[in-house]
Amino acid sequence: EADGEECHRRRRYFRDATKRHAFLNSFSTAPQSAKYGINQFSDLSQKEFRDLYLRASSDRAPLFSGPKTDR
């Protein structure tokens, strides 16, 4: 039963992912533009993904004031 529930949940996350892909891919059709779709994270909820993989923080860094680099 637990497996059935887990499987059901993963299937729902997968469906949510495909909706996100359609939304994200709608922004640009340029050939080089980013493509979004099924990958190894597609059966994770956004919260699971964030909790597992997005754990970095940044300390405020001073604005760069070095030499302007001429092209």
Partner: protein
């Protein structure tokens, strides 16, 4: 500035790693920058221990997260030498710090710089050339679904949550972009890499950028 530059072409970038189910991206980006600086300084690219940074950088929280600049500050303050990965392999979970004698071989960080290059991504290109691969902290929420190509839209710069290594840029095509090494294995993105449009601080790529000096 050359129109295209990639430190991988100079054998100064280690292979893509996989952090697995551990929030250790901050340690991977720091060790990646140290490995590259070491290679640029005349050695070959040698895999150094991410687990050592994960376990010993006490102002960070191991698999629960951390910041590249705090880790670099710890390396600079303590003079800890990063040992080869083979001596202190990655376990994808936080553990007890292993200490090594000062005479033990390793790579130490003399200093580092950290800057906000917002609005100055061209200067960031110059920094990349002068200093080698740079650590950066980005908003990677939309990267859960990324498959490849150049990210231009819908990647905010409001919330920093992931650390990566900027290894190059390519301004030869229609969309100038950064070449960024991630730590989610080679099956993700462009064989482990993500391309981010240059200009407009897409994904917050320019917000918190650090360069390492050995």
């Amino acid at each position: 500035l050359p129109a295209k530059f990639d430190w991988r072409d100079r054998a100064a970038v280690a292979p893509v790693q996989n952090q697995l189910a551990c929030g250790s991206c901050w340690a991977f980006s720091v060790v990646g920058a140290v490995q590259s600086a070491h290679a640029i300084g005349g050695s070959h690219v040698e895999l150094l221990s991410v687990q050592q940074v994960l376990d010993c950088s006490f102002k960070n929280e191991g698999c629960n997260g951390g910041s590249p600049s705090r880790a670099l500050n710890w390396l600079k303050q303590t003079g800890v030498k990063l040992v080869p990965q083979s001596e202190y392999p990655y376990k994808a979970k936080s553990g007890i710090c292993h200490f090594f004698s000062q005479s033990h071989d390793g790579v130490s960080v003399k200093s580092f710089t950290a800057h906000d290059f917002g609005g100055q991504e061209e200067a960031m290109m110059g920094q990349l050339l002068e200093r080698g691969p740079l650590t950066a902290v980005v908003d990677a929420v939309s990267w859960q679904d990324y498959q490849g190509g150049i990210i231009q839209h819908h990647c905010s710069s409001q919330w920093s949550n992931h650390a990566v290594l900027v290894v190059g840029y390519d301004a030869t095509g229609d969309i100038p972009h950064w070449i960024v090494q991630n730590s989610w294995g080679t099956t993700w993105g462009n064989e482990g890499y993500v391309y981010i449009k240059i200009g407009g601080n897409v994904c917050g790529i320019a917000d918190s950028v650090a360069a390492v000096f050995l």
